[in-house]
Amino acid sequence: MPSSYERLEPLLRSLTPEVLGALVRRYGDWQTCEDAVQEALLAAAVQWPRDGRPANPKGWLITTASRRRIEMWRSDSARQRREEQDFALSQSELASAPAVDDTLTLLVLCCHPALTAPSQVALTLRAVGGLTTAEIARAFLVPEATIAQRISRAKQRIKADGARFELPPRDEMPARIAAVLHVLYLVFNEGYTASSGTSLNRVELTGEAIRLARQLHSRLPEDGEAAGLLALMLLTDARRPARTTADGALVPLAEQDRDRWNAAAIAEGTALVTHALTNTRVGAYQLQAAIAAVHDEAARAADTDWRQIATLYALLSALAPGPMVTLNRIVAIAMVDGPEAGLAQLAAAGADPGLAGHHRVAAVRAHLLDLAGQHEAAREQYRLAAQRTLSIPEQRYLESRAAR
């Protein structure tokens, strides 16, 4: 039975960008408004379960946040009087303001290029996602003070840069949207890769990333990469129920119980990526989503269409090359042409500076040696990979393979 706060939380979070947008539109200073909205959300979380949900939740939040904002300015009493007059005048206007959609503007502002990626992530989760500083801190396993500092400095930085609460010029939009996509990708990845760890008290970051990606896609339905990213998240998250054992150990894709995959998420993701690939310019998120879709549509691991996956990785290598793309492509080639073909390519790729000494090279080599029947050599490579990985679950997996 969820607590009353848990039942309220989705509503509060979905209203966050609208409430913040309404305030910024009226008062202009989005830094102060953002703090005020955060406090109004906390007040709602305390008061609504106790006093009942107000008839107009959005109006309540706007009124409360406006009051909090004035309290923040209270040191200057003359300004306060002026502000309170403004406040009285503006309340009816604010509550009845048309629901201008501020979500996109907020996302773009929070992912401002002057900020580091961790700051973009923290600010986005708070200002658009409506998470509290404490929740963000728990999600990223860092102290709350670190996140609070990150957010306050990020807002100062944006202010210093002179950014306004409006969408940037059209020619800057592609780069700014790319930054938003990257931030949502990071949020998803953080949640997905950590989902095998102790999840007690951790906010569901994958769910949050999907929710925000969904919002972005609905604002930019013609953007193929926004659709591709949402599809990639859905198709990846669909496997989550089969991805870990009861004791938290990871199950590799080939050994997962596919009946436990989320069929609805797979159907939605596949439809999204199919539509995007057919109707928009191809991009890296779409290709990654397409690869995930090919994996997800195989009823058994043995049914996987590796030829198609190898082709998709070839396209991805051309469009967005990277060491992990190279390695995954080699695995696909090995599945089509045999492990020896993969090992030969791996020998060449391992000399690449981006891959030299990387534990994944050893892990892939181990896997291919196993497939080729060279089990003793494979064990040695598994051990090598286990010594170099920085992931505790991966280390457990690699050590267990080395011990087979």
């Binding site: 997905y192 760890g197 991805r243 505790i392």
Partner: protein
């Protein structure tokens, strides 16, 4: 990615520090302050602490269920941990760049170690 930057000291580097003229030492501390300020501003700092010298250490052992605590035998050790930074950064290159700004890097040595996490992988 989280990295811990370990500042190793030894008797020699401690002497260098102690015998340093006041203004030079002040300059070293100012570099620390500037580093903290920059890491706060970028949001990369999680925590940093300076540690008490080896004579203040306790070494704890549990044998047959009994806890024993003795003054550290490490007073005689050549190298000891003088302090650390825990940072959250985009790359190992960035962690090394931060480590290079620590004054001790010039007369002691500073080690960068990645923090292991619970991240998973797809194979």
């Amino acid at each position: 990615m989280k990295y811990v930057i370990l500042i190793h000291s030894n008797r020699m580097s401690q002497e260098v520090w102690e015998q340093m003229p006041a203004e030079e030492r002040g300059a070293g501390l100012a570099r620390y302050a500037a580093l903290h300020e920059d890491l706060d501003a970028s949001g990369e700092l999680i925590v940093s602490e300076a540690l008490g010298l080896p004579p203040t250490a306790k070494v704890v052992t549990v044998r047959d269920g009994a806890t024993m605590s003795t003054d550290g035998p490490y007073a005689e050790a050549k190298e000891y941990l003088a302090g650390f930074f825990l940072v959250d950064v985009d790359s190992v290159e960035r962690a090394v760049e931060i480590a290079a700004r620590i004054p001790e890097a010039e007369f002691g040595n500073v080690e960068v170690r990645p923090v292991m996490d619970l991240s998973a992988f797809e194979l």
